[in-house]
């Protein structure tokens, strides 16, 4: 419980400092606040989908259903954080560009990631047999994740975009106020802790469901 409370205090303090103490980014002005939530959500989406792929590979190697539980939980949470990143991004786009959706390369990319992992969950729900579901969805997850780095990191950098440079820009530098970078990093760490907590809970629920079905 101490770890949970530490996480609560960590994220709360990071929010207070980010919203009250950190300066605004000159171009973004008031919309800077959205980025303390938008970027960690996008980061966790990539971490979770990578985690799903890792456990899918482990399932294909070991044929242990515990890895399938991890893969499914991570894909579900990855999709959830991807939706959160899309919503916060759309709010930011409305304030900066005047419209919630502009088919910007980064928006188009995240749309494809959403489609890919919605299809993953649809695939899982369409197969009743446990082993077959685990095997097919593991193969799908591995193939789907191959597309993620291209969609998230490569495609948005290949075309001109309205989206501002990422934290580490094209010149490989961090052009931000140190206080903003500190708040970003604190939020990234906090969100990562939150994700792994949610992941462990989801996996435990999956095991309980299996136990209930077996009984």
């Amino acid at each position: 419980m101490l770890l949970r409370l530490s996480l609560f205090v960590w994220i709360s303090v990071a929010m207070v400092v980010a919203l009250l103490k950190a300066p605004l980014v000159p171009v973004l002005l008031e919309t800077t606040r959205v980025l303390y939530f938008h970027i960690p959500c996008a980061w966790i989406a990539v971490v979770a989908l990578g985690w799903s792929m890792l456990h899918s590979i482990l399932y294909l190697v070991k044929r242990d259903l515990r890895h399938d539980d991890h893969a499914a939980a991570a894909a579900g949470l990855g999709l959830l954080f991807c939706i959160a990143a899309t919503v916060t991004g759309a709010l930011w786009a409305k304030a900066m560009w005047g419209a919630y959706w502009n088919w910007d390369p980064r928006e188009t990319s995240i749309f494809f990631v959403l489609l890919l992992y919605t299809a993953y969950l649809a695939l899982r729900s369409s197969i009743q047999e446990e082993e077959k579901r685990a095997r097919l969805s593991a193969v799908y997850s591995v193939i789907a994740f191959v597309a993620v780095p291209f969609l998230v990191f490569v495609v948005p950098r290949m075309y001109d975009s309205l989206h501002p440079d990422p934290i580490i820009n094209r010149r490989g530098k961090v052009d931000m106020d140190p206080m903003i970078v500190l708040c970003f990093n604190a939020m990234l760490v906090g969100f990562t802790g939150l994700y792994f907590w949610m992941q462990s809970l989801r996996v435990r629920v999956s095991r309980l469901e299996r136990r209930a079905h077996a009984a």
């Binding site: 949970r4 709360s12 929010m15 207070v16 919203l19 606040r33």
Partner: protein, 35 residues
């Protein structure tokens, strides 16, 4: 009122509710695991 305080209030409220919900889910999961 300063908008920063409004954004902070809403953010802390949402985070607090999410935290409490997760703690409750974890407690329930522990109970079911013990059975």
């Amino acid at each position: 009122m300063d908008r920063n305080w409004i954004v902070l209030g809403v953010s802390l409220l949402v985070w607090g509710l999410l935290f409490l919900w997760l703690v409750r889910v974890e407690k329930r999961v522990k109970e079911l695991e013990r059975k």
